[in-house]
């Protein structure tokens, strides 16, 4: 297959810098709290009603407040970049269900496996990352080029 790079949208420098900031957050969380910065795991653990004692909830809640509040803080420095969301209501629901179910079953998402797991040289996370990127390529192709 022939790859055509979308040069106008390609942002190697900003993406690398943003990625480094994500990595810094993951490093801070493991050094300061001894925890993995996997967003699906942090959210899932926060929601695990009755299974998790309060001290195990607090750091999750605090981290997620910082994450969710980041758009608000960003606006003080620069206009917030647009999020172009083309998915219909039905697609949003189906994709949300798949992401929620899949990340619980697979024990992680792009952050937990893709960033933290790979930087820990975890074979499990490598397999998970290859699996979700492969599946993403296939489903994207099917949805955008065959239907």
């Amino acid at each position: 297959m022939h790859l055509t790079i979308y040069w106008q949208n390609f942002t190697p420098v900003l993406s690398l810098l943003g990625g480094m900031l994500i990595g810094l957050a993951a490093a801070i969380l493991v050094i300061v709290r001894g925890r993995i910065a996997g967003i699906s795991g942090i959210l899932g653990g926060l929601l695990g009603v009755g299974r998790s004692a309060m001290p195990h909830r607090l750091w999750r809640g605090v981290f997620l407040i910082g994450l969710i509040g980041s758009s608000f803080i960003y606006q003080f420095f620069a206009p917030l970049p647009q999020s172009d969301i083309s998915a219909s209501l039905g697609t949003l629901i189906v994709s949300g269900l798949l992401v929620g179910f899949g990340t619980r079953m697979g024990s992680g998402c792009t952050s937990g496996h893709g960033i933290c797991g790979l930087s820990r040289l975890s074979i499990r996370s490598l397999i998970a990352t290859i699996s979700f990127i492969f599946s993403g390529f296939v489903i994207c192709y099917l949805v955008r080029h065959t239907i």
Binding site: I22, L67, P81, R104, R124, F132
Partner: protein, 140 residues
């Protein structure tokens, strides 16, 4: 103090997602759509993230406690289970459909996008369905 630093870590994580362009689902789909005009930016996000996080994980590698005395919780499993692969394949499918994964969806929710709100609610329902079906909620 440790909670203030944890709040900042969450903030940095979100700012990193915004700066890298990952809170824009169209850009994520631009990476996943290898048959269209391909935007490889996501690879650079991963390289930058892994390079810096690697140093953090090296730092705690032989330590038993984090700096405020809490124990370090690192995943200890090494088996390649079918749950790992099937779950990740399902996640990738959902990721490609809307262009959202959990982190960027929460940041977009914070920015006020109602689509992100719908996605996050569905994602939480999906998590609950899994945990109720399999009773394997692993919280350490």
């Amino acid at each position: 103090m440790k909670n203030i630093i944890t709040l900042l870590a969450g903030l940095f994580f979100g700012l990193g997602l915004i700066i890298s362009g990952m809170t824009n689902p169209a850009k994520v789909i631009g990476f996943l759509d290898i048959a269209g005009l391909w935007d490889p930016s996501l690879i650079f996000v991963m390289i930058g993230g892994i390079a810096v996080a690697f140093v953090g994980f090296k730092f705690v590698q032989n330590k038993s406690q984090a700096i405020f005395g809490e124990s370090i919780h690192l995943p200890g499993r090494s088996e390649i289970s079918k749950e790992l692969v099937i779950g990740s394949l399902l996640f990738g499918a959902g990721w490609a459909l809307a262009g959202f994964c959990p982190g960027p969806a929460l940041v977009a929710l914070g920015a006020g996008y109602k689509e992100a709100f719908i996605f996050v609610i569905a994602m939480i329902v999906g998590m609950c369905i899994h945990d109720n079906l399999f009773k394997t909620c692993r919280i350490k």
